[in-house]
C-alpha cells in the first residue's frame, strides 16, 4: 500500500501542520511515512502545499507528490483554482474541500476524473472553536473520515503528543471531531 496526499492552503492556515499530524497518526499505527512541506513563500496568505506519503513498507523516495491519491483543500478561497487543485490527481481518487458549497467548476473537473468529493464548512467550525480561520485540524478530521486511512483515535493521540498544552489539545480535538462528523460526500 502506498497512499499519497497533497494539501492545499495558504500560509498561516496550517497546511503543513495538517500533513504533519496525519503523518504522526500513521506512524502511531506502525506505518511508514514521509511528510514534507513545499516551502515556497512562507508568508501569511500565500498559497502553500504539503505532502504526505504513507506506506506499509519503508519509504525510500525523497521527492514530492505529483500523482496524489487524495487532495485536501483547506482554504475555501482556493476552490476556484481548479487546475491547480486537480493537477496530477489519480483517477477515482479523493477530493476533500473546505466549503459551504463546492465551486461548480471544481465539482465538474472532479466528476470528469471520477473523484469522490467530500466537503465540510470548516470556516464555521474554526471560527466557533478557535475564533479565527485555522483549518489544519478541522480539515484533518474531515480527511480522516472521508479517506478512512487512519483511525480517528490515532489522530487524536498525535494531536495530544504534538500540542501538549491541555487547552490547546481540547480545542483541536473538538475541531477534529466536529469536522469528522460533519463532512459529507457530495459526489
Amino acid at each position: 500500500m502506498l497512499y499519497e496526499v497533497r494539501w492545499h492552503g495558504r500560509g498561516g492556515q496550517g497546511v503543513v501542520t495538517a500533513s504533519d499530524l496525519l503523518a504522526r497518526a500513521a506512524i502511531l499505527e506502525g506505518k511508514y511515512v514521509y511528510h514534507a512541506p513545499e516551502f515556497g513563500p512562507e508568508r501569511r496568505g500565500a498559497p502553500v502545499r504539503a505532502y504526505t506519503r504513507i506506506a506499509d513498507e519503508p519509504i525510500e523516495q525523497h521527492f514530492g507528490v505529483y500523482n496524489p491519491d487524495a487532495v485536501v483543500v483547506i482554504d475555501p478561497s482556493l476552490q476556484s483554482a481548479t487546475s491547480l487543485i486537480l493537477e496530477g490527481v489519480k483517477k477515482g481518487g479523493l477530493l476533500v474541500v473546505n466549503a459551504r458549497e463546492v465551486h461548480r467548476s471544481l465539482l465538474e473537473g472532479a466528476k470528469a476524473l471520477g473523484l469522490s468529493v467530500w466537503s465540510v464548512d470548516a470556516f464555521k467550525v474554526a471560527m466557533e472553536v478557535f475564533g479565527r480561520p485555522l483549518y489544519n485540524t478541522p480539515m484533518l478530521g474531515a480527511f480522516v473520515k472521508a479517506s478512512g486511512l487512519v483511525a480517528l483515535e490515532s489522530v487524536l493521540k498525535a494531536v495530544e503528543e504534538r500540542f501538549k498544552n491541555p487547552q490547546l489539545v481540547a480545542r483541536n480535538v473538538e475541531a477534529i471531531k466536529r469536522c469528522y462528523e460533519g463532512v459529507k460526500r457530495v459526489v
Partner: protein, 399 residues
C-alpha cells in the same frame, strides 16, 4: 497493515530531521551549544534552546551575533574540555569558513549539523551541497545522512568519533535542507541510558587550564607550519579505521549497520550512479524497478564523505563499466564537479576503471525525480555500449 517491529530498548517515533538531530544532541548531553538563530539556521537550535530552557538539557546555550562568532565560541569551549555542538547552513557556514580551518587544526571535537542549502546568489534556502563541498578541504570529518534515522544515528556517532583520542577532529553531519531537515519520518531512538553507555562523557586532551597555561594556535611560519600540516595530514589518516570501529560499536547498541559506502546491486551491475544524501533512496527506487526488468544497474552512496572512502569505493565498483557521478553543486571552471573529482582521483592509478559521467542535479531544491535518475542510467548504458563517453557533463532536470 503491517506493524513495524519494536526493537528492544528503542522507541519508534515520528520526527523531522531537525527534531531528530536536536534529540540526539540532547541525549549526547552536550555542555555547550553556540549558534546564530537567524536564516539560514534551522529548527535544530530552536529545539535545543527549548530543551535547555525546560531544564531537559543542562548545557550552556550561547546565542551569538554571527556564525563566525558561533564557531569561535565553539572552538574555545571545545578546547576547554566541553562537548560542543552547533548547527548551520549555506551562508551561515560561509561566514564560519575562516574558523572551520582553525577548529580542525587546533584539534577541537565540535560536532556540527549542516542542513545543506544552496549558496547565494541568487538567494535560495533550498537544498544544494554547495556548503558541504565548500569546506571539504578544511579538515573536518563529514557524514551524509540519507534519511531522518541516519541524521539521528550519525549525530550520536559523530561525537564518539570526534572525541576519540585517536581522532580529535571536528565532524559535520550533513542532512539535505528541507528534504530531510523539515520532513517527518519514523525512526527508532535509543533510550537515554543506552546512549550514555555508547557515549560516555568526553575526556579532554590537554584542555585549557588556568593552572597550567599553554599556547593554543601559535604562530608557525616557514620554520614549522609545513611540519605541522604534515602532522595534521598524518593524524587525519588515522580517522578512517576509528569510524569503522564506531560504526560496528553502534550496531551493537542499535542493530543498525553503517558503512562508509552503501551499495545496492553493484555486484553484477554494468552501470551505476553514485550519489550523496536523501536522493540515494530515490536512485535505489529507480534501480529496483529497472533491475526487476533485468537491467543490470546499481547505486552507490556515501555515508562518509571525508575522509573519502576511496579504496572501499573502488572495490565496490569493480566490474562496473560506466558510472554517473551525481553532484548537487557545481565547480566553475573545474574538470568536473566536486564529487566527480574525488571519484576520478580515487580511480587515477587503477588499471580497471569505469567510464565516468558527471550529472549535475537538484540545485537550489529542484526535485530529483525518478525519470532524471533513469536518464542518468540510460546515458551510462550508452557509454558502456559505445565504450566511450559522448557527453561528460549532464544537467538533469534543468529547464
Amino acid at each position: 497493515m503491517a506493524v513495524a517491529l519494536q526493537l528492544k530498548g528503542q522507541r519508534r517515533v515520528g520526527m523531522t530531521g531537525d527534531e531528530a538531530v536536536a534529540y540526539a544532541v540532547k541525549q549526547a548531553d552536550v555542555d555547550v551549544v553556540a549558534a546564530y538563530p537567524i536564516t539560514p539556521q534551522t529548527i535544530i537550535v530552536e529545539r535545543i534552546a527549548d530543551y535547555v530552557h525546560d531544564g531537559e538539557l543542562k548545557a550552556s546555550y550561547v546565542a551569538v551575533e554571527s556564525e563566525h562568532s558561533a564557531l569561535s565560541a565553539c572552538v574555545g569551549a571545545s578546547l576547554a574540555g566541553a562537548r560542543v555542538f552547533t548547527a548551520t547552513s549555506s551562508q551561515g557556514l560561509a561566514l564560519m569558513w575562516e574558523i572551520m580551518w582553525i577548529a580542525s587544526a587546533m584539534r577541537t571535537t565540535i560536532v556540527m549539523a549542516l542542513a545543506n542549502r544552496a549558496l547565494s546568489a541568487p538567494i535560495n534556502i533550498h537544498c544544494s551541497h554547495d556548503d558541504a563541498y565548500a569546506v571539504r578541504d578544511a579538515g573536518w570529518i563529514q557524514f551524509f545522512a540519507e534519511n531522518v534515522q541516519e541524521a539521528y544515528d550519525l549525530t550520536l556517532m559523530a561525537f564518539r568519533v570526534s572525541e576519540d583520542k585517536r581522532v580529535l577532529f571536528p565532524s559535520i553531519v550533513n542532512l539535505d535542507g528541507f528534504i530531510l531537515s523539515h520532513a517527518l519520518e519514523p525512526l527508532y531512538v535509543l533510550e537515554d541510558d543506552v546512549v550514555r553507555e555508547f557515549l560516555p562523557p568526553k575526556e579532554p586532551v590537554n584542555p585549557i587550564d588556568p593552572e597550567r597555561p599553554m599556547t593554543y594556535g601559535p604562530l608557525a611560519l616557514f620554520d614549522y607550519y609545513f611540519e605541522f600540516k604534515k602532522a595534521q595530514a598524518e593524524a587525519f589518516k588515522s580517522v578512517y579505521p576509528v569510524i569503522l570501529e564506531v560504526f560496528r560499536e553502534y550496531e551493537k547498541y542499535s542493530g543498525r549497520k553503517y558503512e562508509p559506502v552503501k551499495a545496492y546491486g553493484v555486484e553484477d551491475a554494468d552501470v551505476a550512479v553514485l550519489i550523496l544524501g536523501s536522493s540515494a533512496g530515490t536512485a535505489r527506487y529507480v534501480a529496483r524497478r529497472l533491475r526487476s526488468k533485468g537491467e543490470k544497474v546499481g547505486v552507490v552512496s556515501l555515508t562518509l564523505y571525508r575522509p573519502f572512502p576511496a579504496s572501499d569505493l573502488v572495490a565496490k565498483l569493480k566490474g562496473v563499466k560506466a558510472l554517473v557521478v551525481m553532484d548537487r553543486s557545481y565547480s566553475f571552471g573545474s574538470p568536473g564537479a566536486q564529487l566527480f573529482m574525488d571519484v576520478a582521483a580515487a580511480f587515477a592509478n587503477e588499471s580497471e576503471r569505469p567510464l565516468l559521467i558527471n550529472a549535475i542535479y537538484g540545485l537550489g531544491g529542484r526535485d530529483l525525480l525518478p525519470e532524471h535518475v533513469e536518464e542518468a542510467f540510460r546515458k551510462a548504458q550508452e557509454a558502456a555500449r559505445a565504450g566511450k563517453v559522448e557527453e561528460r557533463e549532464l544537467w538533469l532536470g534543468v529547464r
